[in-house]
């Protein structure tokens, strides 16, 4: 190739043209030291421990383990490890790392939370080793969206340092929250759950979006004050996890305390977990005209062979509203069980008039033709 400027020369030129436009931010390469009372446990890692009253009111030694979280079988509340990470980026990838990790557990009626803070990149391996110490075999991790974000990120960090992340089972409370509250909350983000379910109201909370920049600023300036907000935010995240878990448990064991607008989703989840208490919750909801409760309950009865109970629900729902679900169920019942073909046909005709979705119309027409045939021949 013909002569070309050396790379350093080109770099110098674009540096000059850039520096004309902006003054580079001041840099600080010294090892950041935190001024507040955290214990420096490794050369680049600090730790603090906070102790709170345990949110779990039920005797933790009880034998009745909540089937809400089947992972807890053969374990107790004290095996839970509530955790959360704060990271340097939100899109993942090998260049995103965790700089703050918190773990909380229940011990002697207390909620103990350890927070580990990474002052600078070279300490990451120590930071990860400290985390690994906590991840013993008997632990069950509890997170909020950890299965999709925090856990894979930790696995990546461990891999990059040539370490193996111990395999520990995990309960992701985001999934449970969605099951219970998706229908009535605008979203199931942790802050919404706190406000609407746990009655926890954060004051001057640092938005998650701003966290990475606060950390990078700290690395550049060595001024730890703005981090206080991040630490507080992070501590609250872990506390909320424990409180949310306790809240779900409490409601599970005391269904009478479940707010009326959550009875359907709790009942549904209980039935899904094979707990008969769900039936009572659904009945209560259905009494208050909750159609979803009627659907779930009737299907439950039908599967159990309690057809009369199911039919009663469908009839009540049908009297209330000529909707597809109850209509079809009744039509099937009249056609196949009681052989009241004409009654079935009338129901299907009513449904057909109201329906506008092509696929459903097709199915209804099919059913209608069959019924008409039976009508004629009978």
């Amino acid at each position: 190739m013909a002569s070309g400027g050396s790379l350093a020369g080109r770099l110098g030129r674009i540096r000059t043209s850039r520096d004309e436009k902006k003054v580079s931010e001041s840099q600080n390469n010294s090892i950041p030291q935190l001024k507040f009372p955290w214990e420096q446990v490794k050369s680049f890692v600090s730790m603090r421990q906070e102790i709170f009253t345990s949110p779990f009111t039920i005797n933790s030694a009880r034998s009745d383990v909540s089937p809400l979280f089947p992972e807890l079988k053969n374990s107790s509340i004290e095996n839970l490890l509530f955790y959360d990470l704060e990271t340097t980026g939100l899109s993942g990838g090998a260049g995103t790392l965790a700089f703050l990790a918190g773990f909380g557990w229940i011990e002697h009626g207390k909620l103990i939370i350890n927070q580990y803070f990474l002052h600078d990149f070279p300490g990451e391996i120590d930071f990860l080793l400290l985390i690994r110490e906590l991840l013993t075999d008997n632990r069950i991790l509890v997170s909020y969206n950890g299965k999709s974000f925090d856990h894979p990120l930790l696995r990546t960090r461990f891999l990059m340092k040539g370490l193996q992340l111990p395999s520990v089972s995990e309960i992701d409370l985001l999934h449970s929250s969605r099951r219970l509250w998706k229908k009535r909350l605008p979203s199931c983000r942790l802050c919404i759950i706190e406000e609407r379910i746990l009655d926890i109201h954060r004051v001057n909370d640092v938005p998650g979006m701003e966290v990475p920049d606060i950390y990078f600023n700290f690395l550049k300036t060595n001024k730890p004050e703005p981090l206080e907000g991040v630490f507080k935010h992070h501590l609250q995240d872990i506390k909320s996890l424990a409180f949310l878990f306790a809240h779900m448990e409490k409601l599970w064991f005391r269904p009478s305390a479940i707010p009326s607008n959550d009875k359907t989703s709790f009942g549904k989840l209980m039935l899904f977990r094979k707990r008969e208490e769900g039936v009572e919750l659904l009945k209560e909801s259905f009494l208050k005209k909750d159609q979803d409760a009627g659907k779930i309950l009737s299907i439950y009865y039908k599967r159990k062979g309690a057809l009369t109970a199911a039919v009663n629900i469908w009839k009540e729902m049908w009297d209330n509203q000529h909707e597809l679900f109850q209509g079809i169920e009744l039509a099937k019942y009249y056609e196949h069980k009681t052989k009241e073909i004409e009654t079935a046909l009338n129901i299907v005709k009513l449904l057909r008039q109201k329906e506008s979705t092509g696929r459903i119309i097709e199915a209804l027409d099919h059913r209608m033709k069959r019924l008409e045939r039976k009508c004629d021949s009978g």
């Binding site: 002569s3 674009i14 990838g93 990546t156």
Partner: protein, 771 residues
Amino acid sequence: MNNLKDKLDNLASNGAFTDNVTRWEKISSRNGKYKDIPEEVFPVIRDTLTKRGITRLYSHQAESFSSVAAGENIVVVTPTASGKSLCYNLPVLQKLIENPEERALYLFPTKALSQDQQSELNEIILSGEIPIKVSTYDGDTPSSVRVSARESGRIVISNPDMLHSAILPNHPKWIKFLSNLKYVVIDEVHIYRGIFGSHMTNVIRRLKRIANFYGSDPVFICCSATISNPLELARQIVESDLKLIDKSGAPTGEKHIVLYNPPLVDPVQGIRRGVVLESSKIATKFLISKIKTIIFARSRVRTELIASYINKNLKNHYNENKKIRVEAYRGGYLPRERRAIEKGLRTGEIQGVVSTTALELGIDIGGLDLAVLAGFPGSISSVWQQAGRAGRSNTLSAAIIIASASPVDQYLVKNPDYFFERSPESAWINPDNIFILLDHLKCAVFELPFQETDEFAGPVSDFMSYLEEEGVVRLSGGSWYWADRSYPAEQIGLRSASPDNIVIINTSKGKNEVIGEMDLPSAKELLFQNAVYIHRGEQFLSRELNIENKCCYVEEADLNYYTDSIVKKDIKLLQNDAEELSKTCRTIIGDILVRSQVTKYKKLKFSTHENIGYGDIYLPEEEMHTRSAVLVLEKNTVSGKAFALIDESLKEEVIGRAGTVLKNVAPVFLMCDSHDIAVAERLKDQYTEEPSLYFYDSCPGGSGLAEGFLNKFPYILKAASDLISSCNCEGGCPSCIGPVSAKGQEMVKGEVSKFLKTWLNSTMDNTGDSV
């Protein structure tokens, strides 16, 4: 096939046609050179090959097999349809069966090619019992399949863009794959030239770095079309030694190559019949006889024009039931539109296709008999690739190359030896383009911190301190770490200088439908407000080009003209990197600043191309740093003295015309498009204070073309001089120095010719090089 023979005979005896043929080359058929399938090849592979009718190998396939088996990096250079994919599939499959942990990565420049390769491999694997899982990993791969590709794909087929933006930044997820990565196949390596190639080297640097991190050191298998420097290019891309395998053992059928120069309409002004109409006419002749034909056009607009002309011609000749279907095919179509056309060609439902280079790469469209090239495709290797589209192994095929009025075309059609006898064109890249390098250094440090002493295109510490000043990396404890919240690969595209694509939206009759995409610089020149944009033969009128929101709203239109924009440019030399004074001229290589603005557009009537009006364009100015070669016609050098002799009143014209001719023929030697390199002529340059010619790279930071230009300058100068002497026009035409209309300029052509000749002679004396 006799159909084609009849047609060709017919044409050969047609004086009106042959009068315009500058060369009718008959390449006779050639027998294949075969080797037995090596003994160690597993029976399971052998059986599969037998089922596909392969009982022995072509010599180059056998050579590839033994080289790869011996752990050598190779670059295979053989013509189209020579069984190239077996050169990598055979050794890779063999080795992967032998060593059940090993994995291979196949990189293709386009998604379409990956899909093609996946289906070919699947055929091989499914027809036998070969226990190798092949997974495609590209933008269209659903996330459920992605996990299985990472975990259990033994061969992963992907493209450089995915490697760059998805695989490398998430390498810990690929640990299984990367720690066992043994083979990397890079097909169509000649495509990785210019900006794309400069990015590619850096992506491969990153791949090797991560592979080493996981303890693997893959063998590279590259394939290239015929260029003069395949080995050099492959070496620049993989930065390792490779073995060149370039003797094809594949048989070829008889092939006719016809060079056709459309007749002069106006000999004085040197105006010829247009390539669009001529190629439509010639292609129609063959299509009527149901000869499967592909027509290659040089631009998207021409693709659409030719397709519509042919369809019009056919409509006049044929009734409905003899319907012959001809489709246009080009970039900017949506993938499903493309797949439908490819399929139609394979099944025979479509008899003719008019395409840009989009179809040049090995996409399977079944056998074709004739290729019509509407204009030279810019490089000799492209000519052979496009011509190779017609005819598979043993059948007669033909390629008719129709020269346009462009200087490159005119040079090549009048100097057919250049075309048939040697291939001086070579591919240029500039992996150390500072902008590209810095972009990839960001990605690399994101992927894995750098130690202070690490190297990546040289010691990293200078670059890292630069990035530290930018605030995106941090030095701590002797290592550089990525220290920014962003995901750098996301903002870096490999194919163009700017990542901003404009989405084209059809808003006719309340529609809101995306019909295509275009990069920003092209969009400024093609989609400005009131531009006529042609898509799949449909005309659209641009209503609004919204640069901020990266979209352009167009409406269907029915107009009798198309549009062409006029760009104004201003240049400043920022830094003189290297300077050389010879007795012929002074040359400088350096960095320049180019300011450009699209200011006006012309309206040109369809068919006649006559100018029927102007309009203004209001778009913001673009600024670009790039590399340039500068030729200074200094007083006491030969070129300077020759220039000084020219009459004052003609000087500006002469330097302008000379620059244009040089720039116009340069792509023949540099394997670039004519718009990849630009020229600016200065009668008295503010920096050199002498008459000067700037030849600069159109891509920010440069893609190797400025350096390539100086390297090839003696050839370029000779081609420019030859072009003017061989042009029969009187005082200048679009095919040589451009048309001369103003009074008192009749002398210009002679002056330019004399000037370039004097310069050329001294250059040859100087270098002792008999160009």
